[in-house]
């Protein structure tokens, strides 16, 4: 099934809760609000026409230009995206769901933006969400075990943020 048809099914079911659709992109996607994510994902998995039973990847993308001189020409407003790549074992099609977030919750630096977890729908999300939390800094509400997965437990900051400052030393070992 093509991306346009999947989008049509989703729009028919959810109506205005689908915030944005892009059927002509390389990988067609829809944008949903963080609050609707679990409903949309459960529908995508359970609907007999779609049957997205495999979660391939969860990615956090930080849209931000740390250099203030380049920021006006960057072509985007600073925000975060969480991208879910889905595929279906039975139907053999793929789809992308996106959630747009502010870079910081309530624009307070240090407060991580929040997304509900999809671990209950796909167990594969468990580690992917931990990794996204670790590297990009997105808080997954309701995750059973949200700890850092790749970096050390006492690491500070989220390295895949564009304004991340590289550490000069870690426990006495110089980093530069």
């Amino acid at each position: 099934m093509g991306g346009a048809e999947i989008i049509a099914i989703l729009v028919e079911k959810f109506g205005p809760r689908i915030q944005q659709t892009k059927p002509d992109a390389i990988d067609p996607y829809v944008v949903v609000d963080a609050g609707d994510l679990v409903d949309v994902c459960r529908f995508l998995r359970d609907d007999p026409r779609l049957q997205f039973d495999m979660l391939n990847c969860i990615t956090g993308v930080d849209y931000c230009e740390p250099d203030p001189a380049k920021a006006p020409k960057a072509g985007f407003e600073p925000h975060l995206e969480v991208v879910y790549h889905l595929s279906s074992f039975v139907k053999r099609h793929r789809f992308v769901v996106k959630v747009l977030l502010p870079r910081w919750k309530d624009n307070v630096p240090g407060q991580l933006p929040e997304v509900p977890t999809v671990t209950s729908i796909w167990p594969a999300a468990n580690w992917h969400e931990r990794e996204t939390y670790d590297l990009v800094g997105v808080y997954f509400v309701g995750h059973p075990d949200l700890r850092r997965i790749l970096l050390a437990e006492d690491w500070e900051g989220h390295p895949l943020r564009k304004d991340y400052v590289f550490p000069l030393e870690y426990h006495g070992i110089r980093g530069r």
């Binding site: 992109a25 390389i26 990988d27 039973d53 495999m54 979660l55 391939n56 990847c57 990615t59 993308v61 930080d62 849209y63 020409k73 960057a74 072509g75 985007f76 991208v83 790549h85 074992f89 053999r92 793929r94 992308v96 796909w122 167990p123 594969a124 468990n126 580690w127 990794e131 590297l135 850092r148 997965i149 790749l150 970096l151 050390a152 390295p159 895949l160």
Partner: protein
């Protein structure tokens, strides 16, 4: 029973073995965890009740590097992710960038054939290490030596092609870096003539070895539904499928052909197999191992066809890629030896040469995330056998 107190305060102490739960940390330096995986086992005596994998001992910041360097400069880093299958990783990233730039249909036929050729050879080399090291985990040393003998021959072929033994950077954006050298086709087919009869030796050494069957059959059983829910792919998933129940041959080379894989004749080995020992059940460690053995046969078959195709292939080995990435995003998955390796590339809206984000969806990462389910209730000695059958490469898990 023994009485050790005087009779007036008689007390009977049963000399029974009381067991407590104990936490055992396995790794990061452990000979059978394939690198720097750390497993924390909660054990009661010999029985493992819970396994918690701890990752990140090889986190090398590949994704941060990817968003700071141009795609061509990032190719060497993809080699170092899955260092056993550098060609396949190069191919995955190249395909993602080509998809973003709209080059997918413009790659010349010759480049496609060479890509298939080197990727399948690398799949053989990777599986050879996989089964050799698996034998090593289970305590047999000789398959390792034989596997490395054949692997060195493949590495010699790769060295002629690109000069490196392990980190090739040969498949690049727009094709492959060089044409094949003179006489390479003959040497490659000579190698295949040598290699194909050797597979039977491995079957004798491992597949039909009764100790090996006892160690692997029936342990670490992964049901199909769980494999799909956890995103397991590759031999890990295919070892759990059942051809007779109508499961599709879940191999991206068959179901989403890239690089012209649809023009090659090959089969995707799926259980049940004719050679299955009676103890083995579908989805156990033995089946995962045997799927790899069968895949090597099929890869050799594809290489033979590709060698024939190369003689008549038209076009150049490479086309010039554009200097700047267009805005947009592309996600491509390819079938690597360990499963579906995905690359997600996001271009900047201002058309720069550096991407905004590079994400590698690692197959070993997903395959490993199911460990705590399949290791529950096994013996400690079975943990290396199960983890070895997943065939992880920590460079790819941690990136």
């Amino acid at each position: 029973m023994a009485t050790i107190f005087p009779p007036e305060q008689e007390q009977i102490i049963e000399l029974d073995v009381r067991t407590d739960e104990m936490l055992v940390s396995m790794g990061p330096q452990h000979p059978s965890t394939h690198g720097v995986l750390r497993l924390v086992l909660r054990t009661d005596g010999e029985v493992v009740s819970e396994v918690t994998p701890h990752l990140g001992y090889l986190h090398r910041c590949a994704e941060k590097i990817g968003e700071n360097v141009t795609p061509i400069q990032f190719i060497p880093y993809t080699d170092r992710m899955d260092y056993l299958a550098g060609m396949n990783m190069n191919l995955g990233y190249s395909l993602a960038v080509e998809k973003l730039c709209g080059l997918t249909d413009k790659i010349p036929e010759k480049a496609q054939v060479i890509r298939v050729l080197v990727c399948e050879l690398n799949r053989i080399a990777s599986h050879l290490v996989g089964i050799g090291a698996y034998g090593l985990d289970l305590g047999t040393f000789s398959p390792f030596l034989y596997a490395f003998r054949e692997r060195e021959m493949i590495l010699d072929l790769f060295e002629e092609v690109c000069g490196a033994r392990l980190t090739y950077s040969y498949v690049t954006i727009g094709g492959v870096h060089d044409d094949l050298p003179e006489g390479w086709v003959e040497r490659c087919s000579k190698f295949l003539d040598w290699f194909e009869p050797r597979l039977e030796e491995y079957h004798t050494l491992l597949t039909r070895n009764s100790i090996f069957i006892k160690r692997t059959a029936g342990i670490g059983v992964l049901p199909k539904d769980m494999a799909i829910a956890y995103g397991c792919t590759g031999p890990m998933l295919r070892g759990s499928l059942n051809r007779e129940k109508g499961d599709p041959p879940w191999d991206l080379r068959k179901i989403e052909p890239y690089c012209g894989y649809d023009q090659y004749e090959f089969e995707v080995p799926l259980p049940p197999f004719a050679e299955t020992p009676v103890e083995a059940v579908i989805g156990d460690a033995w089946h995962r191992f045997y799927v790899r053995m069968k895949e090597m046969e099929q890869s050799a078959r594809i290489v033979r066809q590709a060698l024939r195709k190369y003689e008549t292939a038209k076009g150049s080995h490479r086309i010039e890629p554009p200097r700047h990435l267009p805005p947009g995003e592309a996600y491509v998955e390819t079938e690597c030896p360990r499963g579906q390796m995905g690359f997600y590339v996001v271009g900047r809206p201002t058309k720069e040469s550096v991407p905004l984000r590079v994400r590698a969806r690692s197959s070993s990462f997903c395959n490993l995330s199911v460990t705590h389910e399949i290791c529950r209730g096994c013996l400690i000695a079975d943990v290396p056998a199960i983890v070895g059958s997943i065939d992880i490469v920590m460079g790819e898990v941690d990136r």
